[in-house]
């Protein structure tokens, strides 16, 4: 933590990183996206890499990330973020490149790109927001939706016989030699947010080493489409998502 500043006799205990813009975020109350944005930009500021960072945000609730992150950014088609990031990184190998993708984007329509980008060991950071649902399109089933979970396209709950099991894409890609650092984090408590920040920091530092892809899954919430209040959503996440998607490092550099 930075040393507290004194403003008008009061102690500053929290502030927005300068690289987060002043644009009011469109995210729903309690949504994980805003917190992850903030932590990402905090790290960019602390590492002083704003000038060297290019982000990619594909279609999904966070497609407007470029409104909030004061860095050069590219919007990508649904599922194609890591291909776009590959194109950027290959022609700008000294820059820091990251993608910021939802579960539908990364683990359904973009599965091929996810696997092959990591298999090539592209030196990028992939931030994967797993909220178990399609947020932007209004709450349809995601590849990561839990069994029994009610969504607008599984109104009676997700069933294995019809829709298969939720996919643990993070464990899957950790098998690939191109994956350098793979971790699963969350933002449902302050302690979790702090751990996420450490992972992001490490990932940017690793990117300089050019040893492969860094992959951070963030188990996040979508109160609006889970039809829960923000507090209930965090409780539901802890009780239901975390047992299936356990937090912690999955692959760490030797």
């Amino acid at each position: 933590m930075e040393p507290a500043e004194n403003i008008d006799g009061m102690m500053l205990v929290y502030k927005k990183p300068p690289t987060l813009t002043d644009t009011p975020m469109h995210y729903c109350p309690g949504c994980g996206h805003g917190v992850v944005h903030k932590v990402l930009m905090e790290v960019v500021d602390e590492l002083k890499i704003q000038e060297e960072t290019v982000g990619v945000a594909p279609v999904g609730c966070s497609v407007f990330a470029y409104d909030y992150m004061n860095i050069d950014m590219q919007e990508a088609a649904h599922g194609r973020a890591t291909a776009v990031a590959t194109g950027i990184k290959r022609v700008l190998p000294e820059k820091f490149v990251f993608t910021y993708q939802g579960d539908g984007d990364l683990a359904a329509i973009g599965t091929g790109e996810t696997i092959h980008t990591i298999n090539r060991g592209e030196n990028i950071l992939i931030v994967f927001i797993n909220n178990g649902i399609y947020g932007m399109t209004g709450g349809q089933m995601a590849p990561t939706s839990l069994l029994g979970m009610k969504t607008t396209t599984t109104p009676f709950g997700r069933e294995v016989s019809a829709m298969g099991n939720p996919i643990k894409i993070t464990e899957l890609i950790a098998q690939l030699p191109g994956a350098y650092y793979v971790t699963r984090q969350a933002v449902y408590t302050t302690a979790a947010v702090r751990k996420l920040k450490k992972s992001i920091e490490a990932s940017f530092k690793y990117q300089k080493l050019k040893k492969g892809t860094c992959f951070i899954e963030v188990v996040s919430s979508c109160p609006s489409n889970w039809k829960l209040t923000p507090v209930e959503a965090n409780e539901w996440l802890e009780k239901n998502m975390l047992p299936f998607y356990p937090l912690g490092d999955i692959k760490v550099p030797k």
Binding site: T53, N70, D72, A83, V84, V91, H116
Partner: protein, 366 residues
């Protein structure tokens, strides 16, 4: 049709169309290429990868699919690189979503379609069945690609330079619409020297935001309809402006009563038909569009003053003929002759069509 007067500093070689195109890309200062194998253009990627040791600063990458490849093109172009991709029918179909994105995000790139017969998996023989897809848009939304149609291996080289130049000038993807025969055949080519195409400035590219400028954003998302309409107006005014880039070639049209209209390989066949017809004292000429978008509408209109009828010849069921009819606008009859599915018409077949039109033509009062 091959340019005989050798320009200064060019290097003359005997080359296959696909390889000549690939070599031209290096010489035109291409910084990145992303592709995926498909017949009849796999030699492009093969040639490029074989030349990597000579061009260590150029990114050449075989992607996992054409979908990934074109999105890599999007990323690299957005980062300011001069970038190319090539494929054939099925692969080009997979790229359409991203090409639509690229026109909206105003990203330059050179796309090459070495056409094969379709629809479906079709055949690997040459075809011109992708004219509609290339010229009319191909993906979703109101947009156009700049479309260039080579008719020789020399033009497979020259149009690479023009394609990069025009796509960068208008910040819009350009497409070279070749076909399997042009890709595979060998002809003499004059290769321009490397470095002859200056790099276009890309102040809009995402290269990392310095303190001295606002952040650069590459996007095709304009959620408010007012802004989306504005973007569309910008695109439409660019398409209008592109009209001045129109290029075509005319052969013996001065006194022609029947004008053949054909592009690419078919124009080579029609050139022969013109000779055969002239031997039979039939006044036949040829109009060959080099740019398919923008289409040489005015050139067609001008010929309606002298010609009695037009015959569009294509290796498809009749696609460009619609643009010829739009240009002629009922002033003259426009006939069509085509072969489909990878079949190549012979000059004699086209001549038979010319003769039947000539007979009919006598009874049409002008």
């Amino acid at each position: 049709m091959v340019m005989e007067n050798k320009k200064e500093n060019t290097e003359t070689r005997l080359m296959k169309g696909n390889e000549a195109l690939a070599e031209a890309a290096f010489r035109a200062g291409m910084k990145a290429y992303f592709g995926y194998p498909i017949t009849p253009q796999s030699e492009v990627l093969e040639y490029l990868t074989a030349q990597v040791p000579k061009h260590p600063d150029v990114v050449i990458l075989q992607a996992e699919s054409e979908l990934a490849a074109i999105n890599m093109v999007y990323g690299a172009s957005g980062a300011g690189a001069r970038v190319m991709i090539s494929s054939s029918g099925p692969g080009i179909s997979l790229m359409q979503e991203c090409l639509s994105y690229m026109t909206s995000a105003q990203l330059p790139a050179l796309v090459v379609n070495v056409q094969r017969g379709g629809p479906g998996l079709g055949t690997i023989q040459p075809s011109q069945g992708d004219y509609f897809q290339a010229v009319k848009g191909g993906g979703h939304g109101d947009y156009h690609l700049i479309v260039l149609a080579p008719a020789s291996v020399q033009e497979m080289v020259d149009l690479v330079f023009d394609g990069f130049r025009l796509s960068e000038k208008y910040r819009n993807p350009a497409l070279i619409l070749a076909d399997g025969a042009l890709g595979q055949m060998m002809e003499k080519v004059n290769l321009p020297p490397a470095g002859s195409l200056p790099k276009t400035q890309t102040p809009w590219a995402t290269t990392g935001k310095p303190q001295t400028r606002e952040r650069n954003i590459i996007t095709s998302l304009f959620i408010q309809p007012e802004r989306m309409e504005k973007l569309n107006q910008v695109l439409q005014s660019k398409y209008k402006e592109m009209g001045k880039e129109v290029r075509w070639e005319e052969i013996r049209t001065e006194d022609a009563e029947i004008v053949l209209v054909a592009f690419g390989l078919t124009s080579r066949i029609c050139e022969k038909t013109v000779d055969l017809a002239r031997q039979k004292e039939l006044k036949v000429g040829l109009l060959r569009p080099i740019t398919l978008y923008p289409f040489p509408t005015d050139a067609v209109v001008k010929l309606t003053e002298s010609a009695k009828s037009f015959i569009t010849v294509e290796m498809n069921a009749g696609q460009m003929v619609e643009d010829v009819r739009l240009a002629v606008n009922g002033r003259r009859p426009v006939e069509f002759y085509g072969r489909m599915g990878g079949m190549i018409p012979s000059p004699e077949e086209v001549l038979a069509k010319v003769e039947s039109v000539a007979e009919k033509g006598l009874s049409i009062p002008i």
